[in-house]
């Protein structure tokens, strides 16, 4: 048993990998080892996995309906058996709403990442590889967006587009891409003049091919780290928009909007507003811990800090 484990380990850590797959697995193994050595990062990963499980199995896990409450008998009940986190002013079970709300949170995070990261990646790598006036113009635009306060810009966008979770996602994505462009450009500049890019160019590869096939993959790992670290901020912005009534609309169980509707009862039924806040705190803490751990594992240069 231990002998096969040893050989597998040796196979992963070999200096002379036989195939690209083996080399990749080996590198992933080393990163994984470094990652799991960081206890806080593992906690972060567990939180995020928990969030995904909650979102996927919400109908199975939620004890009550998130939308229909018992208005007659179960309004604003204290946390206890039956309703572990209490009920809100419409008699709905807060725990069930939180569980369903995890779907909205995950949706926001994933969609923002899927929209913003590729935009940033494309802008950054093209600017970095093309250089000259293309670079100057693209980076000026990036800097203009960076100069904006993110939340205020998102607010203005949602104000123009109209409230709703879809518009909130678009608004957050529009304000999120500039840092990714900056990172991708910096990474591109470091590899742009390296010998192997030169070799690819000499072999006649087109600029687009070089950018797409050879430069972008190199930017991915630092981008993943940055996106993970940003996810906490995205969740907080989305919750802030929800709190102001500009994100998800009732009766959707969005956590920020739940805090807003619980605000009226804060003095006597504190749990209505408090519980969704804890959920936001735990999930964004999870993303922060995970992002920190990923940064240390994938980027050994920065781990000294």
């Amino acid at each position: 048993m231990s002998e096969t484990a040893m050989t597998r380990r040796e196979w992963l850590l070999t200096d002379r990998p036989q195939s690209r797959l083996q080399a990749r697995l080996g590198r992933a193994y080393v990163a994984w080892r470094r990652f799991t050595a960081n206890r806080l990062a593992v906690i972060g990963l567990a939180i995020i996995l928990g969030l995904i499980v909650l979102a996927v199995f919400a109908p199975v896990l939620a004890p009550h309906s998130p939308y229909v409450g018992d208005l007659a008998n179960a309004r604003l009940m204290t946390p206890g058996p039956g309703h572990w986190l209490g009920t809100d002013d419409q008699g709905r079970d807060i725990l069930s709403r939180l569980i369903y709300g995890s779907r909205l949170t995950l949706q926001v995070v994933v969609l923002v990442a899927v929209i913003a990261a590729p935009i940033g990646l494309l802008v950054g790598t093209v600017a970095g590889y093309a250089g000259g006036w293309v670079d100057a113009v693209l980076m000026r635009i990036t800097d203009i967006f960076l100069a904006f306060p993110k939340l205020v810009l998102a607010l203005a966008f949602v104000a123009a587009l109209g409230p709703g979770i879809g518009n909130a996602i678009i608004a957050i994505a529009i304000t999120s891409w500039p840092p990714y462009a900056r990172i991708a450009r910096a990474e591109t500049l470091t590899v742009r003049n390296s010998d192997y890019i030169l070799a690819v160019r000499l072999m006649g590869a087109s600029p687009w091919r070089i950018v797409l096939r050879h430069i972008m993959p190199l930017c991915i790992s630092s981008l993943i780290v940055r996106v993970t670290l940003d996810m906490a901020g995205i969740i907080l912005t989305a919750a802030g928009l929800g709190f102001l009534g500009l994100g998800a609309q009732p009766p959707l169980p969005e956590w920020g909007a739940m805090i807003a509707s619980g605000r009226r009862f804060i003095l006597d039924q504190w749990w209505v507003a408090a519980m969704p806040g804890f959920a936001i705190l735990i999930v964004s803490l999870g993303f922060n811990l995970l992002g920190d751990g990923l940064r240390d594992a994938l980027d050994p240069r920065g781990s000294g800090q």
Partner: protein, 355 residues
């Protein structure tokens, strides 16, 4: 001292002056294009995105002749580039249009509410820096210790907690349950009509008026929202301080300072922190800008009559001119703070100073 300097001082000074002029010109160009971009984006949000910009401004209950008047006022019959030119001219003159909600020019409203936000963000930044810097230094000096871990976790929670929620809980605990602080608002109604602000910064005004009852009241109002903002600033500042300090403590000049027989206190605070202070200025400026943004949510929770509350109130009433005016003002302050931090950086780091 070097040969070339004594040989051709005139040529060198000339070249230096020219390089400096070029740098300043480039700098101004960057500021100008950033500002232009800011106005362009708000123009886009206000005029291009909404299906009917007039409706977005006057609301759907306005009579037809009002709608028509506003349409002509805004020049909506003109092509976009002319509209933008008009808009830009207006913005540069401080004309953001009229607020539907207050019926005042937006600029007048902003002038009234802005000091409240500045005061809140300033006190928050001071709290964040005063607590965050020593914590970051401690974490760096005792790297890997329990203290380091605690600072790290306190900071991470600061990054992760929704500010409006923490504000609600703080109000619940410190105002409603414990009664340690005053509740929402900026000043008690009792003083509202007897106290005449001069600068708009109430703490300062109370000191100037030597009115200690007002000072105490204002302080007990500001302490909760400012501490909250201060916590966010502290999370950021302590983390960056730690990383800058670790970098400085590994430098050779620290070994030299030890070899001179200086005390650890002097080495840490006099040498390492003095060097870390150079990038820290940028961090604190950025966190100040971040607090202006954070004030949008904080002010809503604490009913703090500042720009943030003004923007969210306007949002809820679809008062587009006011929203965009507020956005441009906050964006402008962002740009100004970045400029200022750049200048401060140059002043603090002798290597970027030209003699």
């Amino acid at each position: 001292m070097s040969m070339s300097e004594t040989q051709r001082p005139a040529g060198r000074a000339n070249r230096r002056a020219r390089a400096r002029l070029k740098a300043v010109a480039g700098f101004l160009l960057v500021v100008a294009t950033t500002y232009l971009g800011l106005v362009a984006v708000t123009f886009f949000i206000g005029r291009v995105v909404p299906i009917d910009p007039v409706l977005a401004i006057v609301g759907d209950r306005a009579p037809a002749r009002v709608v028509e008047r506003v349409r002509l006022e805004m020049g909506l019959d003109l092509p976009y580039y002319q509209q933008f030119w008009l808009y830009l001219k207006g913005v540069l003159q401080g004309n953001f249009g009229t607020s539907v909600l207050t019926t005042n020019p937006v600029m007048t409203d902003i002038r009234r509410v802005f000091p409240a936000t500045m005061e809140l963000a300033t006190v928050g930044t001071v709290i964040g820096a005063v607590i965050g810097i020593p914590l970051g230094v401690l974490a760096a000096v005792r790297r890997g210790s329990v203290a380091d871990q605690v600072v790290r976790i306190v900071g991470l929670i600061g990054y992760s907690v929704p500010i409006f929620w923490l504000g609600l809980l703080a109000l619940l605990v410190f105002y409603a349950r414990l009664g340690w602080t005053s509740g929402p608002g900026r000043i008690d109604v009792v003083f509202e009509y007897t106290f005449t602000p001069i600068t708009g910064f109430y703490l300062l005004d109370a000191i100037l008026a030597r009115d200690w009852a007002v000072f105490r009241d204002v302080l007990s109002h500001i302490i909760l929202p400012a501490s909250l903002l201060g916590y966010f600033s502290m999370a950021y500042v302590s983390r960056m301080t730690r990383s800058f300090m670790l970098n400085e403590l590994g430098q050779e000049y620290i070994v030299a300072a030890r070899a001179k027989g200086l005390s650890e206190t002097r080495i840490i605070w006099g040498h390492a922190l003095r060097n870390a202070a150079v990038p820290l200025v940028t961090v604190i400026a950025l966190s100040y800008a971040g607090l202006l943004e954070g004030s949008v949510l904080t002010e809503t929770v604490f009913a703090w009559p500042g720009l943030g509350l003004y923007i969210t109130n306007s949002l809820q009433n679809a008062d587009m001119n006011a929203v965009l005016g507020g956005t441009i003002v906050i964006g402008s302050v962002f740009i100004a703070i970045n400029l200022l931090s750049d200048v401060l950086y140059r002043m603090l780091d002798p290597r970027t100073r030209t003699r």
